[in-house]
């Protein structure tokens, strides 16, 4: 086969490969929806993070506004310190609530931010003071049973 024809076929092949990669990145993967570039860090302390993992979503009113960067255990206060990276486009008041929610009944856990009414805003390195822990199913069940038993007495 002549060389020009070969080049054309190989060119088509490479273009197909790049197109497939592009399709995987944009249509299948989260490269487009994950376009959080400039972020600021805030910290939140939780008594119990449940099944929260690094890279979990941080949502406000259901919209993804950031990601969990890291989770470490503070050996002095004995609680979990969660470092959150929030997109700089979104600003939150200082008294924002950070709650750990579960997506669906058995889904992944994420952090939900609920804005408070403070006039000052959260800045880089700030600590979110008002937090609510993850719901632990065992605790919930034992509480329910305890209440049931109390009612019967």
């Amino acid at each position: 086969m002549e060389r020009a024809k070969l080049d054309i076929w190989v060119g088509i092949f490479v273009i197909l490969g790049i197109a497939a990669m592009f399709g995987l990145a944009t249509k299948v993967g989260n490269l487009t929806s994950n376009s959080i570039k400039e972020t600021y860090q805030v910290f939140a302390n939780f008594e119990n993070i449940g099944g929260l993992k690094p890279r979990a979503a941080v949502k406000a009113a259901g919209v993804v506004v950031g990601r969990v960067d890291s989770i470490v255990f503070d050996t002095e206060a004995y609680h979990a310190v969660v470092k959150i990276k929030v997109d700089t486009r979104y600003i939150f008041p200082k008294d924002t609530f950070a709650n750990i929610y579960t997506a669906g009944l058995l889904g992944e856990q994420y952090i939900g931010l609920e804005a408070g009414g403070d006039l000052e805003n959260l800045e880089d390195g700030d600590l979110i003071t008002q937090t609510q822990d993850a719901v632990v199913l065992e605790k919930l069940i034992s509480q329910f049973l305890y209440n049931k038993a109390a009612e019967e007495d």
């Binding site: 086969m1 092949f13 497939a20 993967g29």
Partner: protein, 261 residues
């Protein structure tokens, strides 16, 4: 006593021969690296091989990818429907293809379609003394024959695996959305929410590069090392498929246990 000694000697000589072949294969790989400059300087040699290993494998890759995607969509749907979460079918198809089936099935097909062709071609070149003739003319067969095929395989395999994953997902889309009637929006959006670019897609691409390396170097070595007879070439071709397939499956296990903890 003699029998025991013979037995031990048998183990020893088998092990030594295997090690010698492994060493010869490694030596061939370094020779390829040394002579790679030529295969890029005379790029048309490599492009010609990309045509034979990559472009001509395209049809088998696309067709089998579409069917694999359709089967995944169908089987996944039957199971997921029992739990009332048939919208998760997109995630199942995409993750299965991008992480595992894309690179692995492509590599197995690649070994069968392109690897055997490489082995048989080089083995026959050796049997008909074309390689010796090149050496007589002071043309290095590694630079002229082996290195372009090596780089063609290394380039073709990731491209083929990417195309396989994408076409497979389209096959799953065809069955799940167009035939069964799963909601199209949740099919794609759940997929996007759960497939991570840097963790899943890039790791799949790394796998396909590793498999491409393994399949190509095994095929090249078996061809280069084949006894220059008709029987030798046929045995070498068989060995290429067997060893490549086992290497791909073994490497896949190792890579998976490193990547997706």
């Amino acid at each position: 006593m003699n029998k025991i000694l013979n037995f031990i000697e048998g183990i020893g000589s088998t092990f030594r021969k295997k090690m010698a072949r492994l060493g010869a294969g490694t030596r061939l790989f370094f020779l390829v690296l040394i002579y790679s400059g030529d295969s890029f300087k005379r790029i048309h040699l490599t492009i010609r091989e990309i045509y034979f290993t990559g472009v001509l494998s395209l049809i088998i890759i696309v067709v089998s990818a579409f069917f694999v995607g359709m089967v995944l969509g169908l089987q996944g749907y039957y199971t997921l429907e029992k739990y009332g979460s048939s919208e998760a079918i997109g995630v199942l198809v995409a993750l299965a293809l991008v992480r595992e089936l894309g690179p692995v099935v492509t590599a197995l097909l690649f070994a069968g379609r392109a690897g055997t062709a490489i082995t048989a071609e080089i083995g026959l070149m050796k049997a008909t003394e074309q390689l010796s003739a090149m050496e007589v003319m002071a043309v290095s067969p590694v630079a002229r024959i082996i290195a372009p095929r090596f780089w063609a395989g290394m380039i073709s395999m990731p491209i083929l695996a990417t195309i396989f994953s994408m076409v497979g997902i389209l096959g799953g889309y065809f069955i799940a959305v167009l035939v069964i009637g799963v909601d199209e929006g949740s099919f794609w959006s759940q997929m996007q929410a759960n497939v991570d670019f840097s963790n899943d897609i890039v790791d799949g691409a790394i796998k396909s590069i590793v498999f491409g390396f393994a399949c190509t170097i095994i095929a090249l070595f078996e061809g280069f090392d084949a006894p220059p007879t008709a029987e030798g070439v046929s045995r070498a071709t068989t060995r290429t498929v067997v060893i490549s397939s086992l290497a791909v499956l073994g490497l896949d296990f190792i890579l998976t246990s490193f990547m997706f903890v």
